[in-house]
């Protein structure tokens, strides 16, 4: 027997005891409309609330609705003591009379979680406690019950300090009117809440909401006539009717609860049936949507390597933000996350056990489909990077054409013109011709140098002639800062991987020269477990953003074409490390 069970058993015993005392008090009292009939109504209403409250509490310990129902039941029994002839009991009963109404308002507004979710609801309940709790209790020491015509048989008020019945009666009238208005507002909120709910959630809340709404309308009528006229008979009759209607709230709640359980059992067994054969992504989604009663349900598949979600087609999937009204439940299998069920929190019935059961039932199918989704995501990624590669090749060619046009070609044009001038000056002014020929030769030298530089950018000849180590040595020698180069295990690295490694180092050294403000750099190439790793580190200012530069992006695409990857670590003030890893067997 758990601690909770013992506590609940204790509360049940206390409930029976106080209920018995209240029933005896009502049955034997001669102050108001009392007797056995009233005693039975009192017992029925009180036990309904306490019983249903304790049952709900036991089934859903994390839901405060059960505790609130039980509290309402106890308050109801305490209020019955206003029929007692014992002064102390009488004054307790008279004081908590309105607290019972306030508790029921809080109960209904917090249905089904037991918690008030909106500021508006908290304000309404706060007004209720201020009027029905604080104000009424504060008035007790200033009210002589015996002075009122309807309470001539009541016992003495033991808390009476001084009699101000006229003032208190006026206050009570005002409080009654405001109370009636508040109750009508509550009815409006409840009906609106019912109208907003959908599907199984609406069906589950309907009995509670409607029983509550009818009771509050009756209570509002009761408060307004109590405040305006002296129709005791009608008032008593309506109060009894009201109590009886309200006594259905706990049952309605219990019915909702069992409906939920029955619904859950049915939904889960139907879901398991649908998942028996291997479902496709669309079928799985439909089956889960049916089980949770939310047609807008979505499935997200977890990609552990990318640490992100994708949908069934492999497209990136972002979990909804808190203001979207949508919520999600992660699905795990053998302790590993495989995906998430994303649903509309306002449509899906509030039943954590149902959502747990659905998530468990879906885990296997979701895990199987995850591999397909991961594959599609990979295809997406590949075709995107292929498109980028083609674009990069085009861009590279445009750049080459521009470089040729602006560089070597211009120099050769000037060279041709200078030769023409020299030719025309040859006869009349040989010295001028010699000067022109010198200038022409200089232009030609520069053009040749530019062409060599360009050719190196297209493919480094030194790499194919003398290998990676030598090629990186040439890059290092041309860098503006001292560069330490270490190459281990160069033999057997395929040519495409060598070329990729060369361009990683070339791009990294270019960036160091342009942006890093470094004083030195290190280049390390090594073999690691069937892959080649390339690391270029500098001691510069860091803060490089690889997503901004097209150079690194192009390199990442080039590497992904070889199943490799590129990482850039560049915290501000801590230098930059460009790290690439390419498998030898692409």
């Amino acid at each position: 027997v758990s601690g909770l069970d013992r506590a609940l058993a204790g509360l049940a015993a206390a409930g029976i005891a106080i209920g018995a005392a209240a029933a005896v008090t009502v049955a034997t009292s001669d102050s108001l409309q009392t007797g056995v009939g009233f005693a039975l109504i009192t017992l029925f209403v009180g036990f309904s609330f306490i019983g249903a409250g304790l049952i709900a509490w036991r089934q859903r310990p994390d839901n405060r609705f059960g505790a609130l129902m039980a509290a309402a039941g106890f308050t109801w029994f305490l209020a019955a003591f206003e029929t007692s002839q014992i002064p102390a009991l009488f004054v307790v009963g008279a004081s908590v009379d309105t607290i019972f109404v306030v508790l029921t308002v809080q109960l209904l507004l917090s249905y089904p979680t037991g918690q008030l979710t909106s500021t508006r609801d908290r304000i309404v309940v706060g007004i209720g406690w201020l009027l029905g709790g604080v104000l009424i209790v504060v008035a007790v020491p200033f009210f002589d019950y015996n002075a009122e015509p309807w309470c001539t048989n009541c016992p003495e008020n033991p808390l009476l300090i001084s009699e101000h019945n006229a003032v208190v009666n006026t206050v009570l009238d005002v409080v009654s009117w405001i109370g009636a208005a508040v109750l009508l507002v509550v009815v409006g909120i409840l009906v609106n809440r019912w109208a907003q709910a959908r599907g199984p959630q609406r069906r589950a809340m309907a009995p509670v909401i409607w029983a509550g709404a009818v009771t509050f309308i009756a209570s509002a009528v009761l408060l307004s006539i109590g405040a305006s006229a002296d129709k005791r008979d009608f008032e008593e009759w309506l109060a009894s009717a009201c109590s009886l209607i309200f006594a259905t709230v706990p049952f309605a709640f219990l019915i909702g609860l069992t409906k939920t359980r029955a619904y859950r059992a049915g939904a889960v067994s139907e879901l398991l049936g649908r998942l028996e054969h291997v479902p496709g992504p669309e079928e799985l989604r439909d089956a889960l949507a049916r089980a949770l009663g939310d047609r807008t349900l979505e499935l997200a598949y977890w990609l552990p390597e990318g640490e992100r979600f994708v949908d069934a087609s492999g497209q990136h999937f972002e979990l909804p933000g808190p203001e979207s009204g949508r919520t999600w439940r992660f699905v795990e299998r053998h302790g590993q996350r495989v995906g998430a069920i994303v649903y509309d929190g306002t449509r899906v019935i509030d039943d954590p056990a149902l959502i747990d059961a659905v998530a468990r039932a879906a885990a296997l199918a979701l895990e199987n489909q995850r591999l397909d989704a991961a594959l599609r995501a990979r295809v997406e990624e590949l075709s995107a990077s292929r498109a980028r590669l083609i674009m990069a090749v085009d861009e590279e060619r445009r750049r080459l054409e521009r470089d040729l046009h602006d560089g070597a070609q211009q120099r050769l044009v000037a060279h041709a013109l200078n030769l023409k001038l020299a030719r025309s000056a040859l006869d009349r002014d040989p010295a001028e011709a010699a000067k022109l020929l010198d200038a022409a030769q200089k232009e030609l030298q520069l053009a040749l140098e530019e062409l060599r530089e360009l050719a190196r950018g297209i493919h480094p000849a030194v790499l194919s002639e003398r290998g990676l180590d030598a090629a990186l040595g040439v890059l290092a020698a041309r860098a503006p800062v001292p560069v330490d180069v270490e190459v281990h295990g160069e033999d057997g690295i395929p040519q495409p991987v060598q070329v990729a490694a060369y361009f990683v180092v070339a791009e990294a050294l270019t960036n160091i020269a342009k942006y890093a403000h470094a004083t030195r750099a290190e280049v390390r190439v090594a073999r690691d477990n069937g892959a080649v790793t390339v690391e270029v580190a500098d001691d510069g200012i860091g803060g490089a953003d690889p997503s901004r530069g097209s150079g690194l992006r192009g390199l990442a695409d080039r590497l992904s074409g070889l199943d490799g990857r590129l990482d850039v670590r560049s915290a501000p003030g801590q230098g930059t490390v460009v790290y690439a890893k390419v498998p030898l067997r692409a």
Binding site: H405, D406, Q409, Q410, R411, L412, V413, A414, A416, L417, N418, K420, L421, S424, A425, E443
Partner: protein, 130 residues
């Protein structure tokens, strides 16, 4: 080298005035030397389209050597704007690319001819000017 005096010297006997438009200073210098050696008077140079249009209006040259690829807008636009004015210079387009790269725009822009930069010489210019 054969010559065409009709172009190099205008009807009043003065040297023909030329404006050179090209964004490469090296080409402008070579072209200026070549043209001056052959008796032309280079009255100005411009490195982009906008300053070319302004220089043409200010200097009123008789001939404009106009590069097609300019940094702001291309030589065709410059030719269209310049030749729309009364008393416009004869415009010769030059480029290090081939005329076939540009298609019909060469004929439709108002220029009277096209010359590859490497082929530039006074005889060729004289042949292009009507």
């Amino acid at each position: 080298m054969g010559t065409a005096p009709g172009l190099r010297h205008n009807l009043t006997g003065m040297a023909t005035t030329v404006l050179i438009v090209d964004d490469h200073a090296g080409f402008r210098a070579s072209a200026r030397r070549l043209l001056e050696a052959c008796g032309y008077e280079v009255v100005g140079e411009a490195a982009d389209g906008e300053s070319a249009v302004q220089a043409a209006a200010r200097l009123r040259p008789e001939l404009m050597l106009l590069d097609v690829n300019l940094p702001d807008f291309d030589g065709f636009r410059v030719a269209e704007r310049v030749t729309a004015e009364p008393g416009a210079p004869a415009v010769i387009l030059v480029s290090s690319r081939d005329a076939s790269d540009y298609g019909r725009r060469v004929e439709s822009c108002g220029a009277c001819g096209f010359c590859a930069k490497a082929d530039l010489d006074p005889d060729r210019l004289a042949a292009l000017v009507p």
